[in-house]
Symmetry: C2
Amino acid sequence: MKVELRQATSADAEALWSLFSAIFADGTTYAPDERTSQASFLTDWFGRGGEQWVAEADGRLVGAYTLRPNQPGRGSHVGTASYGVDASTRGLGVGLMLGTHSLERARALGYAAIQFNFVVSTNATAVRLWKRLGFQVLATLPGAFRHPALGAVDAYVMWRSLP
Amino acid sequence: MKVELRQATSADAEALWSLFSAIFADGTTYAPDERTSQASFLTDWFGRGGEQWVAEADGRLVGAYTLRPNQPGRGSHVGTASYGVDASTRGLGVGLMLGTHSLERARALGYAAIQFNFVVSTNATAVRLWKRLGFQVLATLPGAFRHPALGAVDAYVMWRSLP
């Protein structure tokens, strides 16, 4: 499977919503739930500045990320990012590719660090990936995520400096 | 000075902007800086759900807070809040009054905890107040705030459970 990254455009809106609405419906990895509307998702994804990228394989969107300042103004030198990978292509390295690319972009854009605000502690794939990419857990938010099967589980604030 | 709290209305928009634009111009306590527009501030304050309250003394707005979910959906049982006190009334207990009231409201609304995402570590008044009200530092975000006089200083993620 050959995967290529390119910047997202408004023409990707439907495919992005298809990917993320499935993630929200699954309910095990992201705070937004099945009640999230397409409009609010797209406003959140494209309407907060920064850069949005998509991963394509055989002309199909299989992953995406958005990278933007985590705070405005006096905190805008620290970035944050969100990622999604299509369920059918998990385990094939798309997440690692997106994560690696986003760190390169963050460095190129001059961010001093990347902060993830809400990594679900039971999302082992994500936690392992972020640690592999140099992130550390700065805080454990006790019971901050209502997991559909496990009940209240912790979420992590994760951080990686970009020296 | 007799201070009374009431819920904010759209009629408070100008007075709120007057209070917060001065705070942003000062630049020592909040990420939004002097480039923040009135429209974006008001959208942020009133447009993200939750409750907004103001403190009045002699018919003048001297403080305010907003209380809302920190995450949507599966994280919405943890709240977050922002506060502002007019410079002319600092040290008179308005911050303590707002903080105490917001915790009562958070409990009444069923929040399990309150998380502050970005407390500037050099804002000693705020850090002391939040510790007094039972908050603890869960994470230190290294150099996450560009202080106008001190350069890059840490910011804290603070947390208080509401059992």
